[in-house]
C-alpha cells in the first residue's frame, strides 16, 4: 500500500464543497483530518492563522493549495485530506479549486510522504484528473499509479 493511501483516511476527501472564501475552504479541507482523528479543530484554525500571518504561499500549483501549520500536539497522526470546491475561491490573487490539508509529525517518514505526494501531483494531467474524478475510490486508485511510477 502506498504511503498516500494510508495518509488519506477513508472519507477524507470532500469532492464538491461550496464555500464563500479561502478561510472556509481551509476549514472544509480540515474536516477530513478532524473526522479521521488525525488532527484537532484547533489545528485547523492554526492552518487558517498561518495564511493570515504568512500570506497565501500555500498555493503550490495553479489552482491547488496545500494548507498546513507547524508541527504541534494538535496533530494526532500523520494525514492528508482534500476539499474540491464547486466554485474556486481567491487565495491572494490566485484562484484555487483544490485545497489539500496536511497534518505533519516529526519523523523520517515525513520527507518520504511529501515526496510521494509531490510525485503523485506531478503526474501528467493529474490536476485535471482530480478536478474531474467522480469519487474518492477513483482518486485512491491513482495513488497506486504514482507509487508504481516512483518505483520505476
Amino acid at each position: 500500500m502506498s504511503r498516500l493511501s494510508d495518509a488519506f483516511a477513508p472519507g477524507s476527501m470532500l469532492l464538491g464543497v461550496a464555500v464563500p472564501d479561502w478561510q472556509e475552504a481551509i476549514r472544509a479541507a480540515g474536516t477530513g483530518l478532524v473526522a479521521s482523528g488525525r488532527a484537532t479543530g484547533v489545528y485547523v484554525e492554526t492552518m487558517v492563522a498561518s495564511v493570515e500571518t504568512h500570506g497565501p504561499y500555500i498555493v503550490i500549483a495553479p489552482g491547488v493549495a496545500l494548507a498546513h501549520a507547524a508541527i504541534t500536539d494538535q496533530v494526532l497522526s500523520h494525514g492528508f485530506s482534500l476539499a474540491r470546491l464547486v466554485h474556486p475561491v481567491d487565495f491572494g490573487d490566485q484562484k484555487v479549486n483544490l485545497v489539500f490539508a496536511l497534518a505533519a509529525q516529526v519523523g523520517d517518514s515525513h520527507a518520504e510522504l511529501m515526496a510521494e505526494f509531490a510525485n503523485w501531483l506531478m503526474l501528467p494531467e493529474q490536476i485535471n484528473f482530480l478536478l474531474n474524478a467522480g469519487d474518492e475510490a477513483e482518486v485512491r486508485a491513482s495513488f497506486e499509479v504514482a507509487s508504481a511510477k516512483i518505483a520505476e
Partner: protein, 89 residues
Amino acid sequence: MKIVAVCGVGTGTSALLKITADKALKQIGVTATVTAASLEDAKLQRDAQIFLTTANIADELRNTPTEVIVIDRVMDVAEVAQKLGATLL
C-alpha cells in the same frame, strides 16, 4: 553547495520545494544539498548559499547574506530549474 528551501513553518511548502529543487538540479546538472526549513530555522543557517522561498516571506530573509530566489509555484520544476540555472550556471 547548500541550498535551503524555506516556508513559514517548514513542514509543507518547503518540503515540496525541496523535492522540486532536487529534480530541477538534476535537470541542469548541478550537485547540491537541498534541505527544507522553517523561516526561523533558515535565518540561523549561515552556511547556506541560496534560500529558495515564496514571495510572501522572501522579504523576511533579505537581511541575511544568503542569496534569495523567489519561486512562484513550488511544484513547478521548469521554473525552479530556470531560476537556479540563472544563478548557478
